[in-house]
Amino acid sequence: MKVTDKQTLTAQVVIVGGGIIGTATARELSRYNVDVLLLEAEAEVGWGTTKANSGIVHGGFHEEPGTLKAKYCFPGNQMYPQLCEELDVCFKQNGILMVGRTPEEMETVQEYYKRGTERGVKLQLLSKEELLEQEPNLDPELAGALYAPEGGSVMPFELAAALMENAVQNGVRYEVNAKVIGAWAEGGKKYLETAEKVIEADYVINAAGLFSDDLARMFGDDYFSIRPRKGEEYIFDLSVKDMVKSTIFPVPGKISKGILVIPTAAGNLMMGPTGDNVDEKEDLGTSQDGFNRVFDGAKSLVPGLDPRKIIAQFAGVRAASDRGDFIVELSPNVPGLVHLAGIESPGLTAAPAIAADVPRLLREAGLELEEKEDFNPRRSGVIRFHTLSREEQDKLVQEDPSFGRIICRCESITEGEIVDAIHRGARTLDGIKFRVRAGAGRCQGGFCQPFITQILSRELGIPVTQVTKAGPGSEQVKYEAKELSEQEVL
């Protein structure tokens, strides 16, 4: 081993990356008697591509036969109801519609119907009349649709956080702010170096998303590359949430599934994403041009969309690979190294199925896995005050008065929920926003951010000037009053 004065940790299996793939794998491996450590580069898990995912649990009819996408997508979809039930996270099974406009498009819709039903996907073809009866706000010029009732929506960040929590309940360790800066194999072991530590592992699972090719290269695997592809999304105010029931897809283009209108699990309507190849893996900017394309696309499906009702926008970068398909395999060069890479759409849907396949790969690589007797698949979800009845709310406040203090007025989020989020691992304003939606509403944190900053400072025992939006470098308020205007002169 290289000489270093860094602290050394050991683990049988190290998962690099705490996105949806890494956290789902961590939870899967926590079923077995194996010592697992997950490393996340950012301040919280689910912070990279996962955070910006559209949240769609796809039907499983899109994927081309013979691909790994096809292999994992539909089985993943079928795992979602139980997974979300066990983890107590929201799964809104509101169905998916692929709508056609022209006779040619309706032919394509027919082809997808055939492709899906052969795979076992429950599908239904809708006539124009049936479509408009089901979704009266769609463009009346549409000709018909394919309906997949088992498609749905989740909150991707909530799911990743819940998977991590449940994995930790079952013995998995994890570290945040732990970006891997060096990696090598030596004497049957693999080593991962972060700014502060060196980790010795028997097996390494590369779930590093956008950076999975960089990690592979550190180990000498240079046979695949990540081609970052950006997607911009635009979120509407809750007041227009009922415009569509199901997620609306157009007939897909060559590269992407097109611009969608998505009723998210959180309740807001969302439109997007674009699909633009970018040079920078961390290029998260939105653009006027992106907006124009998204809005034109969305408006052609739902003409009544009002851009003045948009409350937020964001972009995410997909970790697409140069193979055009998922990479789920053992490294041909480094024994004990598993690549879970190139997980672009439908990666979120496929994640549980990919994770469930990891034990097979590890066994192939020589790891003995034995199921634990005491694995607990259940995690108790967060309390969502605004979803309770008035009587339940009253009872909750009587038991714990902190639920009687509303901090985020737009979404009715209480101090109790925010403190709970911090106890579950939230360390940043964005972490709280993504877990409990405080600051995600129409004022975008204008009113509640100073209060949440104070609560984070109090609960974490750090000065307010160290509270961040999304990890080190994103401090929210930088100076104490008078720090800039007054100086000691004597």
């Binding site: 851009p307 409350i311 926008q313 129409r442 401090e475």
Partner: protein, 414 residues
């Protein structure tokens, strides 16, 4: 669930709620309750520590907290009930209010009349869709004001301010006084959006440049904001290529408008004016829902708190009267219409039985004009500005002389 019965419930303890509750009590309503979500009364005034409040009302130049305190002191002399740290979750058309606080839990409040006085919120970056990254360091001006004036923190030391609304202008001066540098105030309009006195006292006095017909077209930075690109805009507010300029900064403040907070109102079924984003009201400040009144910034955004107090006293008085069962059906309904160069007028409908004070804003600046109120009154104005609200009083006698059932308020050439 705790049951509470009151005559008048006032939602919001800011300047509007304070004035309305006092007027309702004065009118004779016995149980008047203010429901306030913050830890103290006064609303946004408590963070407005600059002076300039109360010139009309008290003929004095007070700070925001001083102005609020005058009303809070009046309240203390009465038996008006105040619930602090209490959040209203729902209002029903039958005038039932669900509110929660940590002491009592859920409260079911039955009111004979309700005054909506929830104020407004700031427009956000999301609503403007400013392109670029989403780093820390981008705040609405009021949020930054709270950080500085209440919590005691300065967000950064090199700021750009988008929008020349009053809060943005005030914060330009506040940042400067705190030792931060304000690199630019950027305004999309050809004139400042805030009050002239604020442009002079907050920008010109501190040599802070104001760039008109310009906007921020990109936010740079991943973790913390590092710079913005600004550009000049054409008449349609589209950026003019070739005019882009990058300004380094660690803070971007947005002062780009206020939006009345009518989520509770809309949920209850209150009809909203798409121009003001506030309820449609009659000359009693009553909404389309009988017994539910509205005033202050929840009704339309004001620039002077003095006007808020005045308007809210009317709402409170009529809410008190309604609770006492003293209000009567109006015989005549006159629709108020915004005419030439008038963006909106409040109230939206009047009778001819009550004296009425109209509040309105113009669409664009004009000089040497007159304000014409349905031919009943014509008032000469040396200048009119969208940032400066106009008000005019009309007597029942004047209204009775009106022919037809529409009153057009307009700006006419002299």
């Amino acid at each position: 669930m705790k049951q509470v019965h009151v005559d008048v419930a006032v939602i919001g303890g800011g300047p509007a709620g304070l004035a309305a509750s006092l007027a309702a009590r004065k009118e004779g309503a016995e149980r008047v309750l203010i429901i306030e979500r913050n830890t103290e009364l006064g609303g946004i005034l408590q963070q407005c520590i600059h002076h300039g409040f109360g010139l009309h009302r008290f003929k004095e130049e007070l700070t925001g907290p001083e102005y609020a305190q005058r009303f809070i002191d009046f309240i203390k002399e009465t038996d008006i009930e105040v619930m602090l740290e209490t959040m209203v979750l729902e209002v029903t058309p039958e005038r039932k209010i669900y509110a929660v606080n940590s002491e009592s839990g859920m409260l079911e409040i039955h009111a004979k009349s309700i005054v909506l006085a929830m104020g407004c919120r700031e427009r956000t970056r999301g609503a403007l869709r400013i392109p670029g990254g989403r780093p820390a360091g981008v705040y609405s001006a009021g949020t930054a004001q709270r950080y500085v004036n209440i919590d005691g923190y300065v967000p950064g030391k090199k700021a750009v301010i988008l929008g020349s609304g009053d809060i943005g202008l005030i914060m330009a001066r506040r940042f400067t006084l705190e030792g931060a540098k304000v690199e630019a105030v950027v305004e999309v309009l050809p004139y400042a959006a805030g009050l002239t006195r604020n442009v002079v006292q907050c920008l010109e006095d501190y040599d802070i440049p104001l760039y008109l017909q310009s906007t921020v077209i990109e936010i740079h930075g991943n973790k913390r904001i590092e710079a913005v690109t600004i550009a000049q805009v054409d008449e349609k507010w589209n950026p003019i290529p070739g005019t882009e300029r990058k300004i380094e900064c660690d803070t971007l403040l947005l002062s780009v408008g206020l939006v009345p907070e009518n989520e509770l109102s809309s949920q209850a079924g209150v009809a909203i004016d798409p121009i003001t984003n506030g309820p449609l009201v009659d000359d009693a400040m009553m909404t389309n829902l009988p017994g539910i009144f509205a005033c202050g910034n929840v009704l339309h955004v004001h620039d002077l708190v003095d006007n808020v107090s005045k308007e809210s006293e009317r709402a409170g008085m009529y809410a008190g009267r309604y609770a006492l069962g003293k209000s009567s059906e109006k015989a005549r309904r006159i629709k108020v219409q915004a005419g030439e160069n008038i963006r909106y007028v409040v109230p939206h409908e009047v009778s001819s039985e009550e004296p009425v004070e109209f509040f309105m804003r113009v669409q664009r600046p004009q000089d040497d004009v007159a304000l014409d109120v349905g031919g009943l009154r014509r008032i000469r104005k040396t200048s009119v500005r969208p940032s400066e609200m106009l008000d005019v009083k009309i007597t029942p006698e004047q209204l009775q002389s009106l022919e037809g059932d529409t009153l057009v308020i307009q700006i006419v050439e002299q």
